[in-house]
Symmetry: C2
Subunit: 451 residues, 2 copies
């Protein structure tokens, strides 16, 4: 072979070492299983769509970031989220679908952002949405946080807060204050309060020519403190007379009541009037989720209620509510901060190493171990014994099964615990029991089914 091409991966595209990939896959599986426990149906849409279809709604920043290209006659684009494909799917197959349509989708999406540390151009989103046909009961807005709660718990975290707000409250407030036109800019300023402080927020609001009384009302609103119930009560004291506001307060109060019914403890959710979630998409309840000890990660699970999912494709009214976990970024951050809380660090539970020139006994033992539900690799290549153990170590395989002359004659197998270094010669049945104790959940299952 002549000239070599330099093997390299595009910047902004995550490519993991196998030991990291094992952790990433466990996160993905935990999220999937949690979504399925609530009866969300799987969906898998193409990564490539017609640009016209995918960009029916998009504009501005999104359109600039899109991967768009010609293939033959076709103007194509890669999906940049999982919501637009869902809208397309429901508009397309609406008559075959049963409503409410509860679906999850876990898949890669593409955004040609300026690549920087922790920002990816290809990343996994893990979405759930509940879509109604014409209408969707507000109680669905209370179920979503219970799915978030179960999922984040499943990922190994206890200290997290699902922050809830309602866009109608925000829109109603600004409508009441005759500041509807400026509301986007006001919310942008308020969003900075933690960084720049209250006084600077007041200054910037004054620069927008907002009346002092209105500023006072806005600050009173975002400064509401207390327990969830106290906060809801405080909304009354602001004396906002506005239909939208009232609707929002009623919805939020109902959602909070039902969240408790769905079993989410008070320490894991709160009402937060500063949460707005973007500008024109959400129309009611909105959610953001923070790990209490790692708020710098930003929201790990966000979403909300929207009135009309597929208006660019159909006249059919399709209200919905949903949330999304940005898995790639979350994994990247947790891994970087050494916060990954997963069960297993290897695929194989045991590596079988033969001390004999004939490898047949090792293969027989491996076949039996696999039958018992244990992930088993046989070291098949001619290497020194030391190299074989080093391989087990590098792959984090917890046990090595050694087959030598003595084991063969006694029909036993020596099991070495790679962490403690201890080893003992056991019958196959004893070995299976021993390995099962620290092995994967799957193996524990097989064990249960076996006994």
């Amino acid at each position: 072979m002549g000239e070599k091409v330099e093997p390299r991966t595009l910047p902004g595209f995550m490519e993991l070492m196998p030991n990291e990939q094992i952790l990433m896959n466990q996160m993905r599986e935990k999220i999937q299983k949690s979504y399925e426990k609530f009866g969300f149906l799987p969906l898998d849409t193409p990564i490539i769509e017609m640009a016209e279809v995918l960009l029916a709604k998009a504009g501005g920043e999104t359109e600039k970031q899109i991967y768009r290209f010609q293939k033959g006659e076709n103007d194509l684009a890669l999906r940049f989220d999982l919501t637009v494909p869902l809208a397309k799917y429901i508009a397309q197959y609406g008559n075959e679908i049963s409503f409410p349509f509860r679906r999850y989708q876990i898949g890669k999406v593409y955004r040609g952002e300026k690549p920087q540390k922790g920002r990816f151009r290809e990343f996994y989103q893990c979405d759930i949405d509940i879509i109604g046909d014409g209408e969707l009961n507000i109680i669905n807005d209370a179920e979503i946080p219970s799915v978030i709660y179960a999922t984040i718990k499943e990922l190994g975290f206890d200290k997290f807060t699902i922050c809830i707000n309602n866009r109608k409250i925000l829109n109603g407030l600004y409508e009441f204050l005759n500041l509807k036109e400026q509301s986007v800019e006001i919310m942008r300023i308020i969003d900075k309060i933690e960084k720049i402080g209250k006084d600077n927020v007041i200054k910037e609001l004054k620069n927008l020519n907002i009346q002092e009384e209105a500023i006072k009302t806005i600050l009173d609103f975002i400064s509401i403190e207390g327990t969830t119930d106290e906060k809801l009560k405080s909304l009354q004291t602001l004396q906002i007379e506005n239909k939208l506001w009232n609707e929002g307060v009623t919805e939020l109060t109902g959602v909070v009541k039902n969240i408790r019914l769905f079993g989410v403890p008070d320490e894991n959710f709160k009402v937060d009037f500063t949460i707005a979630r973007g500008l024109d998409y959400y129309t009611g309840t909105v959610y953001e989720t923070f790990l209490n000890e790692y708020r710098s990660l930003g929201s790990v699970c966000s979403g909300g209620r929207y009135d009309n999912l597929a208006e660019f494709y159909t006249d059919r009214k399709l209200p919905g509510v949903g949330v999304s976990i940005g898995l790639t970024r979350l994994f990247y951050k947790l891994n970087e901060m050494n916060l990954m809380k997963v069960d297993r660090k290897s695929i194989s539970d045991v590596l079988v190493i033969s001390m004999l020139p004939d490898i047949s006994e090792s293969i027989k033992v491996a076949t039996e171990l696999r039958k018992a539900g244990i992930n088993t690799e046989v070291y098949l290549n001619d290497k020194k014994v030391k190299a074989k153990f080093k391989y087990a170590n590098k792959l984090n395989i917890p046990y090595v099964a050694i087959i030598g002359e003595e084991e063969l004659q006694n029909q036993k197998v020596t099991i070495k615990d790679m962490e403690s270094g201890e080893q003992e010669m056991l019958t196959l049945e004893e070995a299976i029991q021993k390995i099962r104790k620290v092995a994967s959940p799957d193996v524990q299952i097989a064990s249960q089914l076996h006994t």
Copy 2:
């Protein structure tokens, strides 16, 4: 909203209804678990790569089918298989990887083929490969069929045949007959023997100006019949004197011996001298797998041994052996022929339906069912009871849990078996036991862990 965009999916891109997606996902998970049972490590490479990197080797048909496009300064392409990304990965991270490197990858690949029934432009491949650093023991070639065997069994099939050949035997034969240059064309003709018959094969070979004696040898070779051992023995009687041929015969004989050692029954594999698997890629053992009763599906799992995985990227010698399942096409065919053999037809094991205006008891019951490992959906929207049962039916949910006045007062729940139509009022614990009996493997696990 004004003008609507017609929601539609590109031709050649599979998009399933949820009930089909449930089946597809089960197939994918079974394959993944089977690969992991043999200790293959997960890998997930980007779908987009630099065109220069991805096309280092490609040419001809492949290059024409590629999705290739510019984004900013970059010349990009979508992966068309999982082997080139593997080669890139190993060349790139070779010093951090432990060899032998055993990896699986399950992911979408892209080929802009002319779309036709059963042909897809976006499809899943499920690959395993074992890569050695400098060398790779031939015994790995025997382990691969044992992985194929376990995986196809896992997919629910018993009657299938893994066909095995060795490219060195083929290349040695044509070298011996001084037909090396014409070997590609000869194999193309031989490939048609089932369709056109032996006489027409002879005629076409004569048209290539091949000597009668050589034609006789070729026909004797491909006509070898008998058991696997008889076939291997018959190779001797052909009196081919060629180094490559001899190497191939030795390898194939060794592989057959070891396949048995790996526990693959004789009825599930055979030596087949007509298997060639393409032209320049494979260098030793080659595999194809057929479902005996559905040979028209073509090979469902194919692959082989190659001398040098990453020669376009590195001087490092990286021999390997692997196989691939074309999942999308296999699912499409099995589904079309009604041959899907999977355990579950729904995500939810039970749908909770409230007969009361207050839904709180239903939510409490659902939370308990989920704690017991049962996938549970609560019907949250205001519909007539009939519509709720219809929903359960359409989603193939096996049980409905009904909460009415009587159930509430007795602290019980009525469980309706949606297939038999039978229903009985049970305590929650009894209900859990009943649902577990037909529910998903996960639930059975939870049941085992519970008792």
